[in-house]
């Protein structure tokens, strides 16, 4: 589904991604872990075409998307839940979910508002007027109605109450069953371990470790060294 091969990405002079390689199979959830500032979000942005890689190759369904503009990558079926609830403040909830709806997939407007009841009761509210957690739900819902083949989620649980975190987890399981691949960048270790099939750990712009969630859960040394816990 997604193949990231020896990707190097810069922000200006800052050398952020220093040769990242990873693979995602159809229906697989890959958890991407690591401390803040190691390049997880930059990797997401390189995949999405927002901060293109300078060297290396990114293939999506076999097509080279390394230097493709972001909107074309999105149209090919790559969805994004950005960190920090980047919603369109002047659009209503309903507009968000209508504008981005795409494809004949399982995720319809109705299904998304069923998943996030808060959104249903705020359909005509401007996104900028929602609470922080509701904006996070909207960012997730907006990506879901696009019925992506690959979904990149950058800290989707941030700001969600415990009950909503569970709901989001169930949505991830449902996406997975439907064959969607998910790159899950997540700080909540327990959440990542619960829903990922495999976890990659980044440090200083590189993948330094990968294993199954069960292996990581049992590996106190790796957790201490790479995650500081």
């Amino acid at each position: 589904m997604l193949s990231v091969q020896d990707v190097h990405t810069y922000y200006g002079d800052s050398y952020i991604l220093q040769g990242v390689t990873l693979e995602l199979k159809p229906g697989q959830v890959v958890g991407l872990l690591g401390r803040n500032g190691v390049g997880k979000t930059t990797l997401a942005r390189s995949i999405l075409g927002l901060t293109p890689a300078k060297r290396g190759t990114i293939l999506f369904k076999g097509a080279d998307i390394t230097h493709m503009p972001a909107h074309r990558i999105a149209r090919m079926g790559v969805g994004f839940v950005p960190q920090g609830r980047r919603v369109f403040r002047s659009l209503t909830v309903q507009e968000h979910l209508e504008v981005t709806a795409r494809g004949e997939g399982r995720w319809t407007f109705d299904r998304v508002v069923e998943l996030f009841p808060n959104l249903r009761s705020r359909l005509r509210s401007l996104a900028g007027k929602l609470s922080g957690g509701e904006q996070q739900m909207l960012a997730a819902g907006r990506a879901l109605v696009g019925n992506p083949a690959l979904l990149v989620m950058d800290e989707p649980t941030e700001g969600l109450a415990p009950l909503m975190v569970r709901e989001l987890g169930q949505a991830i399981e449902s996406l997975k069953r439907a064959g969607t691949s998910i790159l899950l960048i997540e700080q909540q270790l327990a959440f990542a371990l619960r829903y990922a099939d495999v976890v990659f750990i980044m440090s200083k712009g590189r993948i330094v470790h990968h294993c199954t969630p069960a292996e990581l859960a049992a590996d106190a040394e790796a957790k201490a060294r790479y995650l500081g816990v």
Binding site: N36, G37, G84, G132, G133, E158, P162, Q187, V229
Partner: protein, 246 residues
């Protein structure tokens, strides 16, 4: 002594009652936790307490003084500081400059035109000491917009502390932080002196229970439960609306 009293405060947005007749009393030095489902009105409560929004009705008292009509900056001058869910740093200034500004804001002589250079040295010294204390000297010279998100959150907290507040409102201080950073930030908050009264909104229950003396639970704009940690954790309604039932 009570630090902060909200007396029957409400806030409407058009037809929506974001906060409805909420009353709470926070004692000086207390660690109060505010929890509730998304959209319950937690951030709105902070906005009303800090003056970022006007109340539709009700009163707010800070150390016995009615501050309901005071603007945010006047409340800040009285010792009420807050952090935000989303960081509010000056992105083009360096980390050090951001901290200097906060220290200057907390300094009564901030706007004296004829201040001596020594005062500036003191500010620099203070900023340096704060950044050193929290082990953030490596990013001192970087632009705040360029540092990692978790670092921004820590700087945001340091800015609030730099203002030497009497009452500190923390809105999801650990959101978006790595596990290691959560540990750091929690220890930062725990190490603050009891002279500072702290109200915290937090969704990470492990963190929340560690930081709280008492917990206030909001739901759909109303205060539904209030009590100590154990009572709230085991409250059936809290399990139902917030934690989820296992």
């Amino acid at each position: 002594m009570t630090a902060l009293v909200a007396s029957d405060i409400s806030r409407n947005f058009g037809g929506l009652q974001a906060l409805s007749h909420v009353s709470l009393t926070v004692e000086a030095g207390e660690r109060r936790l505010i929890i509730g489902p998304n959209g319950a009105g937690k951030t709105t409560l902070f906005n009303l307490l800090s003056g970022a929004m006007a109340v539709s009705s009700g009163n707010v008292l800070l150390f016995g003084r009615d501050i309901t009509r005071l603007p945010t900056y006047a409340r800040a001058r009285m010792g009420l500081a807050r952090t935000f869910q989303i960081t509010n740093l000056f992105p083009r200034l360096t980390v050090l400059e951001n901290v200097l500004l906060a220290l200057q804001a907390g300094d009564q002589s901030a706007f004296s035109l004829h201040r001596r250079m020594r005062a500036n040295h003191q500010l620099f010294h203070g900023a340096d000491a704060l950044l050193r204390k929290w082990d953030l000297t490596a990013i001192t010279g970087k632009r705040a917009g360029d540092i990692a998100y978790g670092e921004q959150r820590q700087i945001d907290l340091i800015l609030a502390i730099a203002m030497q507040p009497k009452v500190l409102l923390l809105d999801e201080p650990t959101a978006g932080l790595s596990a290691a950073e959560v540990v750091r930030v929690v220890s930062m908050i725990r190490s603050l002196p009891r002279e500072i009264t702290i109200l915290t909104i937090e969704h990470d229950m492990d963190v929340a229970f560690e930081l709280a003396d008492r917990i206030t639970v909001l739901h759909q704009g109303c205060l539904v439960v209030e009590g100590d940690v154990e009572a709230v954790r085991n409250h059936p309604q809290v399990k139902e609306i917030y934690l989820g039932v296992d």
